[in-house]
Symmetry: D4
Subunit: 151 residues, 8 copies
């Protein structure tokens, strides 16, 4: 069962989503709370698994990942879970989901260039047992990319 | 042209991706740098657009977003950019991309439940001019979800 | 929020699903309850909307409905709800649902023969504004048909 | 060959479809028949297999079946009948048909939630020999659901 | 209601399917009937619409129809019947059917060569109002071509 | 190389396509030829393989073939020719072609009813080695059916 | 009607396909012909339209065309020819064909990078009237690229 | 890394693309260069792999290649590279590429006629191990065919 968040928790989350390094003192000032009680609430949110991690959002193109590709990977139904776990361990794979719809894994891949993409496809992906068909699309234009969540 | 990152920049980024709230002093200790020069490098990474943001990763299911859906939205080619910008402003839309492949927008939507999903589809999505076909899939199982980047 | 059913309610429902005309006296004997308290519980189940209706299951082929067809009806997204309500009022339409997946209505149709099916398709379905594509399949063999529910 | 129903049989069926627990006396009053001859006709309709069963229609969402899914299950043509019989015995499967169109079984599944759906898919469905591809869709909105039949 | 054929009628039809010019005397000899009663039965089969026509089967390639193509023609549902009747009048169209499945006409076209095919497609087919998509396939190899019927 | 037909040959063919039992005397009268030279030309057309057969066109529905179905049969590419030859020998199969487009056989099947169709599909078609997928469509309406050829 | 080439013509074509700048003297030596008669034959091949052009094959990647994309462009059937002629005039379009199969133009596009590709798609392609759907694929690996012809 | 071409190199390439047999003297006259320095630049362009070959463009239909077909060849992912290399060695195959999109090879085939096409498909293509599905389309009309490159 999900934790029911009160309004103060939601405001703390929104501030941390907007700036993951904001100090607890600054949060407290905005919400009229002491630094200690902000820390207590944040720790509780972490303990409840609501905050999974603090991180920083890196522009993948600016660090050389020029090609962003989405893959639909069809596999023999009996091999799907093993293929998925295999792909989840691959460093080029940014995300990997099982969806309703066709028995396909949906996967996001980030690579430096087409040479690396071709090598990933032919040497790493096609080498997995149980894969029957692979479809891929290349990102042309990003209109919105999640950096937050509407609570 | 992308900035060429040296090894120290890469290590700083890796530490910040793993823990977005790590103090510059702690980064300095691990990399044998002063707190001041860590701060200088981080500021430069922000200025260059390499670090886009510090944020916190929230477990969407635990805050009540029970349904995670992927949409492929076909539109009249001449309306695609306008539809995309419209959807990018919708608070339920987490991400929205134009890809190679069919003239389709790829969109990730997070909602509380099926009632909210049906309302989003019938009242907000289908109300946009130029949409010709909508396909949607519901997330069944998450094998990997990006919280980092292999540098 | 759904009603939480106790074990006695579940047993009453199972008996009524199996035989919709079973007397409350007979239900009471099997569950060690008085006829009056069975009736009270059944009335409560009806009031809560858990029992929607008592009915009888008729073999559609034996009353002359020789052709059982499933349709996927694509429509202009903006016309979908109106088309669906229209079809729901058509006496040949046994069921009509909006699903995830393509912007398609899923519809079950029962007709006497192919002449009636062709007339339904060309005169009633294709006459609706906003329909862009119709796919139909004919039932070949029934392996299971719901007449109950696993509680 | 189907039984040819006379007008009185049809009216009796319509009354029983509308209210499966209506008394034979009440049917008799409406149709100007004795209770005995109503019972004789109903028994004949049961004997001829025209009335398959009396039942009660339960609102599946209100008893906790939150997710209603349609599956198209592709199998090796030579395994289709065995897969179909297997699925027909699965308690989550409400109905299972072979249709014209692609060599696909059409199946309706009712489960409590997505955890149960994912477990059904990965542990029960994908474990069957001969399945090559599974497509699934989730019900968003019910416009009409058969509780009767136009005679 | 179809005519119920007796065994003699069936044998007469089989002989005429095999050789449309066989004399009634020869049929009579094989079936132990007089020429007059063969003629009477054939006339009755024509009158009942069972024999539609006597014809001769011409090898279309040997008279210069080098290209045999199958078309699936999608149209706006509301224009389907008019498009179909239009195409049925086109001399290049050998057959034209409405099928279950997508709202598509299935059409067989015989032309002399690709120049004629391209002209048919661009000047006659694409000129019809209501056509939304055309798919075509060229015959590669004929394994069986109906010249009879199993009675 | 195809035979080049002169105008007289073409007129003879047209008359025979229209009425396969027309006497050579009647043809001769219309074309101003002797009965003997008509016979000589017809015999030459038969010898050249231009006339394949004289036959009679039977209305398949009126002799009890109520269901006319088109099948697309996908097979393992290496099994395609063997599957095709097998199907060509099946008495329910009216025609069977290999086309450009997907590696699919296109097949026309005529059966008495759905019971026979289901038995054909499950017992005869699915029993063939190398078949991977079967799609079928039922004829709804016939707009044109070849009984001739434009010369 | 095509020109029937003799063996000498074929050998001359093969030598010119292999090296478009080979001197007529060198061709003559290899085929035991005078320089004059080689020139006469080449001129005749040009006049007959058999040799369309002498050209040089440039490695498109090495001159900065990093992205090679194939497009399938669906259009309203009535607009297809106009769209095709429009695209044929676009300098990024290397080739543009109408094929059997769906009513789609097949087009090869060469651009410098994804920014140019996105601009071509959104500003030049989607701006054309009558385009209903665009599918694109990016070249991953070249196994063979025509630079000759088997005569 | 690609060679950066200066304006003179580009102009030389454009002249050679337009006429592969133009003399270095004529190039020199148009660009105000000596014949020797033109030769030096052309030799450098060849050495850098920018000019791959001089060739002549032959009209394939006029030398008897009447049928131009595009194939999409699906294979088991693990066999794709071997199948591609095999096809690249086939003399009927003009080009063969691996693309993003489905795990399909895109191949251009030139043959004399349909008899040769059917033989290529059934005897050479379907005989390769690992091929699961073949789709083919025939060229109807050529709107543009690359004979140059926009530099």
């Amino acid at each position: 069962m999900e934790k029911v968040l009160d309004e103060t928790d939601k405001k703390i989350l929104e501030l941390l989503i907007e700036d993951g390094r904001i100090s607890y003192t600054d949060i407290g000032k905005q919400l009229n709370l002491s630094r200690v009680s902000v820390r207590a609430r944040v720790n509780q949110l972490i303990e409840d698994g609501i905050i999974e991690k603090f991180s920083c959002v890196v522009n993948s193109e600016k660090v050389g990942k020029k090609v962003s590709a989405f893959f639909d990977v069809d596999c023999e139904p009996c091999d799907l879970v093993e293929v998925a776990e295999n792909l989840a361990n691959n460093p080029y794979v940014a995300s990997c989901y099982q969806m309703t719809g066709p028995s396909t894994l949906h996967m996001h891949v980030l690579v430096d260039d087409f040479t690396q993409l071709e090598s990933f496809v032919n040497n790493e992906l096609y080498a997995l047992k149980g894969i029957t068909r692979v479809d891929s699309q290349i990102l042309l234009r990003r209109f919105k990319s999640r950096t937050g969540l509407k609570l």
